[in-house]
């Protein structure tokens, strides 16, 4: 597969086309998210931050990127 191939993933509730070959780490960088400020779940599995560079993103993956917001 060429590195420019697009795959569709579900990212924070929206379908998005991204380049094939991303890891969680590189995807966060591509969407300008500080990896230290978020928690990432891929296909309902919560990742440790030290896994971000190892976990690849595949077609059809459901990715949730969450953080802390104001709440009571």
């Amino acid at each position: 597969m060429s590195s420019t191939e697009q795959i569709q993933v579900r990212l924070n509730g929206k379908d998005r086309d991204i380049t094939f070959g991303h890891t969680v780490q590189s995807l966060l960088e591509a969407i300008e998210i500080n990896p230290l400020a978020v928690v990432v779940e891929v296909n309902r599995e919560i990742l440790n931050r030290d896994q971000y560079s190892d976990v690849g993103i595949h077609k059809g993956d459901t990715i949730e990127v969450v953080h802390f917001v104001g709440g009571g």
Binding site: N12, G13, I33, V66, H67, V69, G70, G71, G72
Partner: protein, 272 residues
């Protein structure tokens, strides 16, 4: 004493009261505050500082990838300054709440979670069955669960049984500002539980916080009462003083009330 003396807000010494202790973590303040619904982040942080609270609640939500608004709270709230208590607000099932709790723990601050499972959207009253179920699983996973619940003694006992480190009955519905609608049951829950009892939700103004603490509970948690006050920072000062006042009044032991007047000054020694 000058009229600008900031000392009018009581400070509590060791002799007057001990710390609030939850799962071996000690807090000098018995007031826990939320971070939601403030008009600006600056007002939020100013109000939280004025309240004297050390433990503050936060929620877990998706990052807005379109950047339509900046919601991240940790730019404003230094985790070194405050003890972050993540909540599971908005969850309607045990599974959902467990998922949110795990996400919160993965953020890496602590093992504490404010467990909240909503059973009804109109009243935001808790689904107590789902809350107990989630509390048990989370406690088994090592979470320090502080469970938001109804003012129901049996549920509170069950939550303690399954390993909650604090039980948090409501004063009245979330965001209602109705105050303590059932002081008797709050007292009963406090009387029967060994873990700290923290009244969570429903406090509207300073007298509500004071009355809550006068029931003998270990702490009080509020958000809207500060965030929705016309002047949140001033209200935060009021809530700090009221929480201390209610606590000290409880510890002091109030006089017996009676339905007749008794003079405070001597009856003897009056002039002819």
């Amino acid at each position: 004493m000058t009229t600008t003396d900031p000392g009018m807000t009581a400070e509590v010494t060791k002799e007057l009261d001990g710390p609030l202790e939850i799962a071996e973590v000690k807090f000098a303040s018995r007031l826990i505050v939320g971070t939601g619904k403030y008009t600006t982040n600056q007002i939020m942080i100013d109000a939280i500082r004025a309240s004297g609270a050390e433990m503050v609640t936060v929620a877990v939500r998706r990052v807005d990838l379109d950047r339509t608004k900046e919601e991240a709270i940790l730019h404003h709230l230094n985790p070194e300054e405050f003890f972050l208590l993540a909540n599971t607000a908005g969850c309607h099932t045990a599974d959902g709440a467990i998922r949110y709790a795990r996400l919160a723990r993965a953020a890496g601050f602590n093992e504490f979670v404010k467990l909240e499972v909503i059973g009804d959207d109109e009243t935001l009253l808790p689904d107590v069955q789902a809350t107990i179920e989630a509390a048990q699983i989370l406690a088994e996973e090592g979470f320090k669960v502080m469970a938001y619940t109804n003012d129901d003694l049996i549920t509170a006992l069950r939550l303690e049984d399954v390993g909650c480190v604090a039980v948090m009955p409501l004063a009245s519905p979330i965001g209602s500002g109705l105050g303590v609608v059932n002081p008797y049951f709050i007292r009963e829950i406090k009387r029967r539980l060994e873990v700290p009892v923290i009244v969570d939700a429903g406090v509207g103004t300073a007298s509500d916080a004071c009355l809550t603490m006068e029931q003998g509970v270990d702490g009080v948690l509020m958000n809207t009462a500060l965030a929705a006050a016309e002047d949140p920072v001033r209200m935060a000062h009021a809530m700090k003083a009221a929480t201390i006042a209610g606590r000290l009044a409880f510890l002091a032991g109030r006089m017996k009330s009676r339905e007749i007047a008794v003079p405070s000054s001597p009856k003897v020694g009056m002039l002819d």
